[in-house]
Structures are given as C-alpha cells and as structure tokens.
Amino acid sequence: MVILIWLGAFSILPAQQRFPKPEFRTDYTQPAPTTPESRATAMEFLDVAVLLAVMSLTAWFAIRKRSRKGILVLTIVSIIYFGFYKKGCICPIGSIQNVVLALANPGYSLPLYVLLLFLLPLVFSLLFGRVFCGAACPLGAIQDLLIFKPITIAPWLRKTLGIFPYIYLGLAVLFAATGTEFIICRYDPFIGIYRTHGPYLMILLGIAFLLTGLFVARPYCRFLCPYGALLNITSRFSWKHLSVYPTHCIECKLCTTACPFEAIDFPDSVRERPETRKSARRFILFFILIPVLMAAGGWIGSRSHVYLSRAHHTVALAELLISHPELRNDTDNLDIQTFLASGKSLETLAAEAQVIRDKFRTGGWILGAFLGLVIGFMTLNQLIYRRKEDYQANKGACYSCARCLDYCPVE
C-alpha cells in the first residue's frame, strides 16, 4: 500500500519539481511545518468515564434516591460536558455507524472507546432502564429542559410515529455498511447548537426540533432517535427499573399527568379487556402475517435499491455521466471535471458503481425484512393484553427522568 502511494507520487513528481533545491550561503535553517496535536486519546477515555458516572448516578437517583432534582442536575452536567465542552462527536448514537463500519469495512478498526460508548448505554438499559436517555444523552438533555406545555398525543399516532426510529436505524446501518455516509451524524439536529456554528440547515433543524419540543416533549428521542430504538427494545428486559410509587399505588393518576411522554401504562381497572377468544384468533393471524410482512418488506427494499444507492457519490456520478454525457463539457461541475482529470475510464467507474449497487440490493432485502419484522411485532404488541394492577412506567418508553416520582403522594 505504502509502496503504491510512493510509486504513484513519484510518477507525478518529476514534473512538479520545477525548481532545484536552494543552496543557502547564509546560516539560514529551513523551518519545519508545525503539526498541532488533536485532542489526546486519554481524553476520549475520560468521556467514557464521565458517561459511566452520569449513568450510574442517574440510575441511583431514579431507583434508590427517587430524586428528580438530582437527575435535573445531571441533565445540566451532561449539557455542559457532552454538549458545550465535548461538542458532540463521537456520541453513542453515532457510534452505531462506527460499529457497522468496523464490521463491514476491513480497513477500519474500531477504537476501543467508541465500542465502549456504544455498549455501555445498552448494558445499563438492560440493568436499570433508559438511564442514558434520562440524563446522560446531550441530545435528550437539551430537549428535556425545554419541555414547556406538553400536549397529549393520541396513542395511534404515537405508535405510528414510533416506527420512524426503526426506519432511521435501518437506513443508517445500510448507509454505513455500504460506505455511503453517516446519516445520523449528518442530520444530528443539536450539534450545531452546541458548537454554536454549523451548516445553516442543521441549525434550523435544531431550532425546529426545540420549538416543537416545547409542546411535543422530546420529539427527536421519541420519533427519530435510532439509538433510542435499540434502547427501547433492551430496556423492556431491564433488571431493575424506576418504579412510580415507593410502596403501593393508590391509583390517584397523578403520575400520568406528570409524565410528558405518555410513558405510564394504565391499570386493568380503567382499561377495557378484549374478548379472549377473538383476540387470540387475531394474535395467531398477525403472527402468521409476520413472515409475509418480512417478505413484502424485503421485496420493496430490494426494488428501491436503485434509488437508495444514489446516495453513494460513486453511483450518483456514474449515473449522471451515463445519462447526461453532455455534462462532460460543463466546466462548473467539479465532480465531473475531477473525474475526467483523474484519467479513470467511465467503464471502471460504472463497474465500481455496479458493485456498490449490488451491495444495496442485498442491503435493501435485509432492511425491508427488518422493517417488516418491526411492523409485525409492533402490531402484535398491540393485540397482547398485559395485566397490570396499578399505574406503571412503560419500560420501553420511560426515559427515567423521574418527573412522576415527585408527583406520587405515597412517600
């Protein structure tokens, strides 16, 4: 590899050394180019340690201490440290793509701290619920502080919108695996605000999310966050989880008004129980439907691989050159001019594009089947009637923000 680069450089260079090396008569010494260092790798491990500390404290405040105030302080700490000080990258949400890239691309080996950033919140969610979302995530924290007058969203709408995180997750994995781009990072709405500069659209997106968040609590977390989709699944199996009441529930319903995310499930006493036989039949029907949904999703996914693959610049460039050959004369089109100057043939480019497109075809199948599976399970979940004796936090949706704890009169 190094030899190749060296040979490549050598073939261009003789033409470049137009002037000889100067022979100085005075005692002038040539300066060396400065190479200022990047943030020390040890600092990245400090981030991991801070994340660990914040999540542990959140779990302690939510489950043992039952203190909203403590979690509020941690929220502010996260905004200051992970947000304004660390300025975002790399965060556990984006680390999904690094893990996928490490699995898909042989040239990329995953830095250990990125692997830790990816795994720690997941492990914590298996133990204590979504404590990462509660206070440690800077994206969640900034939205959490700006909840002003949360409106109630109809369950059907909430559940339908809940599919978007899985679509986003699937697309992010597909794009990362094919080496196209990191869409989670590109469309991260709040990093521009933390950095106080960024692309115009990114800042606008962030402000739009924050304004929506005044009335629809945590819109990004609930209806878009791909890491939240993973945590939603793992958190359902959590070992210990925040409990709304310390000893027993008196069914006062105060917690449901306190929760801005409608993450508290109602007990049997206020729910209508569906007819057993009818619901059992429907359950079986939808269970059989899951493979059908997966096949249908996979088919749609593979059919749309042509559109999806256009996100990759090689494919986009090859398509553009083949469909519009007259653009070769467009001197303003930097991509085309650079390609023509590189001396690569169109056939090579088209062959490269074809390889990428084939990857997208396979990826499209997997993506579609995954989404079919998710939709199937989500529907199935609606048909299952789970007995609940009292008001309880929904383990999948609860962010462990501890708002409900202050409202519970049983203390």
Binding site: Q16, T35, Y108, P111, F237
Partner: protein
Amino acid sequence: MNRKSFINQSGRWIMLGAMAYLTGHIFFRRKVSASGKYVWQIDPYKCNQCGRCATQCVRAVSAVKCVHAFQLCGYCDLCGGYFKPNTLNLTTGAENRLCPTGALTRKFVEEPFFEYTIDEDLCNGCGKCVKGCSSFGNGSLQLQIRHNLCQNCNECSIARLCPSDAISRVPVESAYQIKGDFKNPAVKETR
C-alpha cells in the same frame, strides 16, 4: 418464578449474549485497537484544490489550512503561489497577491531566495495558493486539516463532498500527511 419474570430474565440474557457475541466477534477479527483513534487528513497528492474545503467544513472558518512543506520549496522570487499569474511588478501589493486574505506572506532570506509562511489565523483553506504552487512551482504548498482546529466529526462533511476522495480517516499515530523533501517527496506521515 412466574412467566413474566421468566420472559424478562431470558430476554435480558439473550440481549447480553448478543452484545457479548458482537464484542467478541469484533475483538476476534482484531477489529479493535485499544489505544487507537482516527483523525481526518487530506492526501496532498489526491487533492486538486477544488475549493470546497473552504466552504464545506462545519467550522465557520474551515479547519483546513494551507501548510508549507518547506523542504520541497524552491524559495523562488517569482512564486506561483504568492503572485497572481501575469503579474508584472513583483511587489507585495495586495493587487499582485493571489491569497485573498493575505495569509501567505514572504520574507527575504538571501539573494535570490524568499521564505514563504502562512498565517493560519488568516488562512481560510481556499487552496488558491496551493493551486498556483502546484501549477507553476514545486508544489510545496498543500492543504491539510489542522487537528487543533478540527472538531473530528464522526463524519467529516468535507470528506463527503470531496470530488477527488482525498480525505480519509488516518490513525492518530500518523496524524499528519505532509509532503516530504526533494529526495523523497511522497507523503511523510508525522505525528
């Protein structure tokens, strides 16, 4: 143990197992570097100075700056990176200079040599001087991502738009790709 807690527990162990498998898989394939870190760098021999570095960086003034590989410089009086083409009188007046921000300055060393340096506070990474130097001179000026300025975004927004695919992740151990000297002008990776 009732059914609910059984499902809960087995689910937890399955998830933990999946995570352990993923970690093991990545470790087994030696895909983890414990002390490793990646930073973004421009390959100066791929770069064609399209000018996107100046505008596409997430930073308001780009983290890409012009870097001078002094060892490759001819110290010319008539510098293709310093003067606009067809400049008649070689004075340091702004109308003759190629750099739009006046970041590239020169200092007389001895007859007939001039030393060229870049004021990084003024440089916006447009690459005009680099283009001039590569077209008319030795190509000792190059664009490079400066790590004290780079936010090290998980995905570099310039890399995505670079037409010549010159920007890639490099291990932090060889954080800088600066051109070498006359004997070996190929990229010298320095820390």
